[in-house]
């Protein structure tokens, strides 16, 4: 009897919270749509503000990964993120969705970005394999925007996580069979290097989780050892202020690395 009562109370609280969340979510979405529609700043001004703000930060991430979670993908909004990363001096921006939609639609994504952000196409390097080290930041000098740097863009999905670790294990088996390596030579650094070759990017400093569920969604398990996770309500209608907010939160994090 009591159990039924507890369950009724629980259901009531659950529904109440769902309702409150729904209202909050609607309010935020509407507010964003409204501010987006009536925004007064041009993109160039937004970028200048980002670059200025970043100059006053102690640290900025060199690799950000946007984790799309359960949301529908808005390529237009992700395209904005790329351009903001250019202004912020972020060297690598990755986009992750566990089902692999982003990878399937990469061509479509690229065409939207080239169309909407024609001016900045020269600063965006798309592709599959980059060396994890030796990032070359070249100052852009077009149109007086000499504060911009190139950014490398990659898509990841669930299959880039544990499956890559399996592939590395197979490669190690082959190396041992061919006497290139002994089992005793296998250590974290060896595995780390090999995984880096597969992913083509350095470990993410910052992961932006889009949506209500805080979860890694299987994101690159080996590489997220010390990645900071910042959650945002949604990537839909994300503003440059939201982006700066994420960078500010990252800036506040203090890494002790176990010490």
């Amino acid at each position: 009897m009591l159990r039924v009562l507890y369950r009724i109370i629980w259901t009531f609280i659950y529904l109440l919270c769902s309702f409150v969340d729904f209202v909050k979510s609607m309010t935020v979405s509407l507010h964003k749509k409204y501010t987006n529609y009536y925004k007064t700043l041009r993109l160039e001004d937004e970028l200048k503000l980002i670059t200025q703000a970043v100059k006053h930060m102690d640290k900025t991430p060199s690799h950000i990964v946007f984790v799309i979670g359960n949301e529908n993908i808005s390529f237009r909004d992700l395209g904005n993120v790329i351009v903001w990363c250019i202004a912020a001096g972020v060297s690598f921006i990755s986009f992750y969705d566990f089902e692999g939609e982003l990878k399937k639609e990469e061509a479509h994504f690229r065409s939207i970005v080239s169309e909407v952000h024609k001016k900045y196409s020269g600063y965006i390097v798309w592709g599959n394999k980059y060396p994890a080290n030796g990032v070359q930041n070249i100052n852009g000098t077009k149109n007086g925007m000499d504060f911009l740097r190139k950014v490398k863009v990659k898509m990841f999905s669930l299959t880039d996580g544990k499956e890559n670790i399996v592939k590395v294990t197979h490669e190690l088996c082959k190396s041992v069979k061919e006497n290139i390596l002994n089992v005793s030579d296998i250590n974290q650094d060896v595995i780390d290097r090999m995984i880096g070759v597969h992913s083509g990017v350095p470990d993410p400093d910052l992961a932006v989780l889009c949506g209500s569920l805080c979860c890694t969604y299987g994101l690159l398990p080996w590489q997220i050892r010390v990645t900071e996770f910042v959650q945002v309500h949604s990537h839909h209608n994300m503003s440059f202020e939201d982006f700066l907010c994420v960078l500010y939160k990252y800036n506040k994090c203090e890494q002790r690395f176990g010490k």
Partner: protein, 299 residues
Amino acid sequence: MSWLRENTLNWIQYVCLKVVKSGGVPNHVAFIMDGNRRFAKKNNVAKVEGHTKGFDKLAETLQWCLDLGIPEVTVYAFSIENFKRSTEEVNELMDLARDKFKRLLDEREKLMDHGVSVRVIGNLALLPEDLRQLMSEAMILTKDNNKAFLNIAFAYTSRDEITSAIKSLVAGVEKKIILPEDISKHVISQCLYTNKSPNPDLLIRTSGEIRLSDFLLWQTSSTCVYFSKVLWPEFSVWHMLTAVFHYQRNRQNIVRLKNFEESCSLESCSLENHQVDLFLEDLHSQRQMFMEKARQGIA
């Protein structure tokens, strides 16, 4: 301070716990118990006092988990990275661990009554021999208990765990026990220290940090993560109930994610492989032998 405490809840907290429990609880909760030293600084006490309070909080949390009916708990007690701390602090932590494991063995009857199985996961070879002996004794004593499971990550990092699994598998291939194509995600999971446990449904990290710090990175791909700003020694039953409720609110999405991940594995998974079973049996019995030797003080 005891590992298993009597109920510390007042009647309001107890009723709220029952309400939350009625909504269905996670099978496995993991904790990153962060904030002991900041707690000590905040209260002007020695760091070791902060860690002791942290242990007390662990014992209290275990009781709440038992009351909620959560059968499995994994806690991040000591990372391999923590060896970088001052010799003084590392020794204090090792002494604290010694003290607590001795206490645990003193309370063996209580543990057996409650049916708690204690496992220490990590690279135990990095620990002092006497501590390893105590831990092995606790593990062997409680290995057949099956009502509740407590996994203590000590001298643990995820990368070290994955590296160890990979090395074992490559050695298995070298000795021609298994073939490279036998190695899959599922097989790697079976070689990790956590092979006997289901993946955590909920991971709670306290003290406001928003990273995973090399904890269960492989196992938490479809885990609901709850970051709490409270320092670990100040973690209350209200924080616990809020975290579990948060998990309940996100359970559908988590299940969807787990199912998707499983469907990906099924596609690439080979049929039941006798060679792999033999390899895994051999690996687990080697680990068991290491534990036996450690208990006798000869490893």
